[in-house]
C-alpha cells in the first residue's frame, strides 16, 4: 500500500476505535482475538500514514497506537508476579472499550434507519402568531378602596369655587375678540400658522372659541388657509382686497 491509499482510508474512520473495528471486521475475527491476530500490526501500518491528517485527529490515532505497542510489549516481557493483578489489565480494558463502541455504532446505524423514515415526513409551518390576550390578575377590594381614599384626600377643600371660576371665565372669550386676535397675528407677519394661534391658549374654551372664530373668518373670505401635506401645520393668510372684492 502506498501512502495515498492510507490517507484515503484512514480519513473515513471516526477515530481509532472505528478503525480497529473495521480491521477486526475485515479479518473476520472476534474482538477478543484482537491481540493474537495481525490486526494491531495493520493498525500501526495505517497510522504511519497519519502525516496527512489534521493534528488533533492524528493525535487520537497515535495515542491508540501507543496503547497497542504498550500491550504488545507487556506480552513479550515476562510479567512481575503479583503486580499485574493489582493494576488494570490494559488488554481487557481496550477490548471492553471496543465492545462498548461497537454497541453504540450499531445503535447509530439502527437510528439511521429511523432517521431516513422520519425525514420523509414533513411538518407544517405555524400560522401567523396570535396577538396576546391580556388578562388582569386578581386584585383586592382593599387596593381599590385605598386608591380611592388617596385620590379623595388629595382634593383641595375649595373644589366648588374652583369649578365656579371656570364658569366665570366663560364670557372672556368671544368670537369677535378672538377673530381680532387672529387678524392681529396674520397682519403682523403677513401670515400665521394654525398651531401658533393656540400656543398661548389658557383653556379648552379659549381654543374652541378661537377655532370657531377662524372658521368664521374663512367663511367670510377674510382669510384663506393652505396645508402643504397631511398633518403639516396650516398657513393662514389674509385674502387680498381685490380678490375679496
Amino acid at each position: 500500500m502506498d501512502d495515498n491509499e492510507y490517507k484515503v482510508q484512514i480519513e473515513q474512520f471516526e477515530g481509532p476505535l472505528d478503525l480497529l473495528l473495521h480491521l477486526i471486521g475485515k479479518a473476520r475475527i472476534d474482538i477478543e482475538e484482537i491481540f493474537v491476530s495481525k490486526v494491531t500490526g495493520q493498525y500501526l501500518a495505517y497510522v504511519s500514514s497519519i502525516q496527512y491528517l489534521p493534528l488533533d485527529r492524528a493525535s487520537e490515532f497515535i495515542e491508540m497506537a501507543a496503547i497497542l505497542v504498550y500491550i504488545k510489549s507487556r506480552m513479550i516481557l515476562p510479567s512481575d508476579d503479583g503486580d499485574d493483578e493489582l493494576e488494570e489489565d490494559p488488554e481487557q480494558e481496550l477490548i471492553s472499550r471496543l465492545k462498548t463502541y461497537k454497541t453504540f455504532k450499531e445503535a447509530a446505524e439502527a437510528m439511521r434507519a429511523f432517521e431516513e423514515c422520519a425525514l420523509c415526513a414533513y411538518y407544517k409551518l405555524p400560522e401567523e402568531v396570535f396577538d396576546e390576550r391580556v388578562e388582569l390578575e386578581e386584585m383586592s377590594l382593599q387596593s381599590l378602596y385605598e386608591a380611592y381614599a388617596e385620590a379623595m384626600a388629595r382634593i383641595p377643600d375649595t373644589e366648588p369655587e374652583h369649578i365656579e371660576e371656570v364658569e366665570i371665565r366663560h364670557d372672556i372669550f368671544t368670537i369677535k375678540e378672538r377673530a381680532k386676535h387672529i387678524l392681529r397675528a396674520v397682519n403682523e407677519f403677513g401670515s400665521a400658522t394654525f398651531f401658533s394661534l393656540f400656543s398661548d391658549a389658557r383653556s379648552r374654551l379659549e381654543v374652541a372659541v378661537t377655532f370657531i372664530a377662524l372658521l368664521e373668518l374663512i367663511h367670510e373670505n377674510v382669510v384663506s388657509i393652505r396645508q402643504s401635506d397631511f398633518y403639516e401645520d396650516i398657513h393662514i393668510t389674509k385674502v387680498s382686497e381685490e380678490m375679496a372684492g
Partner: protein, 170 residues
C-alpha cells in the same frame, strides 16, 4: 391511485403547502387530469364540510387550500393565544376607584378629583371591560358618563357595588 388515495395524497400536499395550491399543479403532481381532480376536490370539500371536519378544503379561484373549521376557533384561541397577565397600574386603579364610588361620573369630574387628564386610563379601562359608557349627562356639552361593569364586580369578587368598603370621611 383510486379516488380515495388521491384525496389523501392531496391533503398531504395541501397540508405542507399551507398556502393555496394551483389545481393544475396538483393535478400534474398527482398524475391525473385537471377535470378529474376538480371532481374529486368537489367531493372531498363536501365530505369535509358535512362531517364537520377540523380542517376544511376551500377553493380560491383556480387554487385550493386547507383551512381550519371556524367552528373550532375558540379552542384554537384558547390553546394557542398567548396570555399575558397584568396588574392594573396605580393610575388605572385610581381612576377605576373614583368611577366605582362616584358612578355615573364624567371624565371632567374624574379629572377634577385626580388633578390629571384621564383620557388614556378611561380608554384602557373600557378596553379591559371594567367600565363602560352609560349615556350622557344632561348638562352643558352633554359629556359622557361612565359606570363600572359586571366584569368589574367579577374581577374584585363582589356581587354588587354595595359591597364596596365605605369611605370613612376624614
Amino acid at each position: 391511485m383510486n379516488d380515495e388515495a388521491i384525496k389523501k395524497a392531496l391533503e398531504s400536499v395541501l397540508f405542507i403547502a399551507g398556502d393555496a395550491v394551483e389545481i393544475s399543479d396538483a393535478a400534474a403532481a398527482l398524475e391525473i387530469g385537471e377535470q378529474e381532480l376538480g371532481r374529486i376536490i368537489d367531493d372531498l370539500m363536501l365530505q369535509k364540510e358535512e362531517s364537520g371536519a377540523g380542517v376544511l378544503l376551500k377553493r380560491v379561484g383556480n387554487k385550493i387550500q386547507l383551512c381550519s373549521n371556524p367552528a373550532y376557533m375558540p379552542y384554537i384561541d384558547k390553546t394557542l393565544q398567548p396570555v399575558k397577565k397584568t396588574k392594573l397600574s396605580q393610575s388605572l386603579l385610581e381612576t377605576l376607584s373614583i368611577i366605582a364610588y362616584k358612578q355615573p361620573i364624567t371624565r371632567f369630574e374624574i379629572e377634577q378629583i385626580r388633578g390629571v387628564r384621564c383620557n388614556y386610563s378611561i380608554a384602557i379601562l373600557i378596553e379591559r371591560g371594567l367600565i363602560d359608557r352609560a349615556g350622557k349627562k344632561k348638562t352643558l356639552g352633554n359629556p359622557m358618563l361612565y359606570t363600572t361593569t359586571d366584569e368589574f364586580l367579577r374581577h374584585f369578587g363582589i356581587a354588587s357595588l354595595k359591597e364596596l368598603p365605605e369611605l370613612t370621611q376624614g
